[in-house]
Symmetry: C2
Subunit: 255 residues, 2 copies
């Protein structure tokens, strides 16, 4: 299996850094190919701007969607963006690992998606019937993705009724709105809580939990998000009345 | 009223840029003081690293929370961070305006929160009784915040049962997990949909909607998020069984 491991932590000698080392080692030991995007080590630029798009941006006004699509088509995207797209094309599975900052990704990682997931590549792809290929379909369909998180919050506080919100709800923009949007099958996340207070015993347990999840990377059931074009949504892309009737909220988009 | 307007769009000649101009003009016309953080124009650096923290980071290993708290206390945070904290301290209300990218903030804006909302300033503040002041209490309590969004998605798709998820659910990490966490009262967001396809008539309507929201900035009811320390959550910060009984999900954190 070809695995791309994306890591976004400023300190390699952190809990996150140790888990990344464990994870990459585990995969290689069983014969997987691993490539890494260690965003801090790469000094990844997370800011979308006209410099990303070569001559496609030489109009008087930058419209990010259409300009990025043109640059993607003509091969004029920045070299750093093309290199990440090439890694994605190569990968069968992607690990997205980060410390939870303000209940989301560190900016350097958000900007990896902003810059790499351009129009024509990860969104805005048409199906033969004219509908847009997204949410379970698209350029990255067939690939798997898993979020690996370290979080300062105690586990109960990101549980179903915890004050911070349930972790899958907090990750919905990433897991559903980005990874599933682009077609990837998203496995349940692995969250290691109490990040700056982990004891030696807790570290052993966290590393074993990670190894176990990696062993079953190709076989675990993904989160059963609904497909956009599978019949559950109407022509306005609203969930049909008879499905999860009377309900709203993030939960209705999961089978 | 003192208003800080944070703007995160790479193109000032965009729908978002025009609305920003309208909004700032509206506020000044009625006598408000406005300061701006135009993040692209400022070339804001969104990446947290050891350079943010002066001598506080001169240990062998960067622990972001505690290091940022030390640098905040000793006044050693980077000058760009301190300048934004000073604007926040000055403001009675904050407008957070951005184009919705991958159902969240552009990286340059996420990194404004990552770098400016440091420990000791926006989180990790203790109350006299030893509980942590957050979710409705904290350094920024008494201030108001409002998100102003432009989004490519059609309105129905970010409605209650739309395929992308309801906009307030998508914004939960920002509105609840960041702004309310730090104590700010969060007004309902203003979302302008179909961003790259807005007609002249639709622009007039969008600008008027924005002006109306700004006229009532100091009087509108905020989103009634629950207070962490108001009695609704138990000592593990889990919502008490008798409130929203049997339910989970983002909605249970709103009265």
């Amino acid at each position: 299996m070809n695995v791309l491991w994306i890591f976004a932590h400023p300190e390699p000698r952190s809990l996150g850094g140790s888990l990344r080392d464990e994870g990459v080692h585990t995969l290689r030991e069983r014969g997987d190919e691993v490539r890494e995007s260690d965003l801090y080590a790469m000094k990844w630029n997370p800011v979308v701007d006209a410099d990303d798009f070569g001559s496609a941006a030489e109009s008087d006004r930058l419209i990010v969607g259409s300009t990025s699509k043109n640059a993607f088509r003509t091969g004029e995207l920045s070299a750093d963006i093309r290199a990440e797209q090439e890694k994605l094309a190569w990968a069968d599975a992607v690990i997205v690992q980060f410390p939870l900052w303000w209940y989301g990704m560190p900016a350097i990682l958000k900007g990896w998606f902003d810059r790499v997931f351009v129009k024509g590549f990860a969104y805005g792809v048409q199906r033969p019937d004219g509908r847009t290929a997204r949410y379970g379909e698209g350029a990255l369909a067939g690939k798997r993705a898993m979020v690996v998180l370290t979080a300062g919050a105690p586990e109960a506080t990101i549980g179903p009724r915890g004050v911070n919100g349930e972790i899958n709800d907090l990750l919905f923009p990433l897991q559903h709105g980005t990874l599933w949007y682009a077609g990837m099958s998203v496995l349940p996340p692995l969250t290691i809580c109490g990040a700056d207070r982990v004891s030696a015993e807790e570290y052993v347990a966290a590393a074993e939990a990670l190894r176990e999840r990696l062993r079953t990377l190709s076989t675990q059931d993904p989160i059963p998000f609904r497909h956009q074009n599978g019949g559950d949504y109407d022509d306005s892309l609203v969930l049909r009345d008879e499905l999860a009737p009377g309900r709203s909220g993030i939960g209705v988009h999961i089978l």
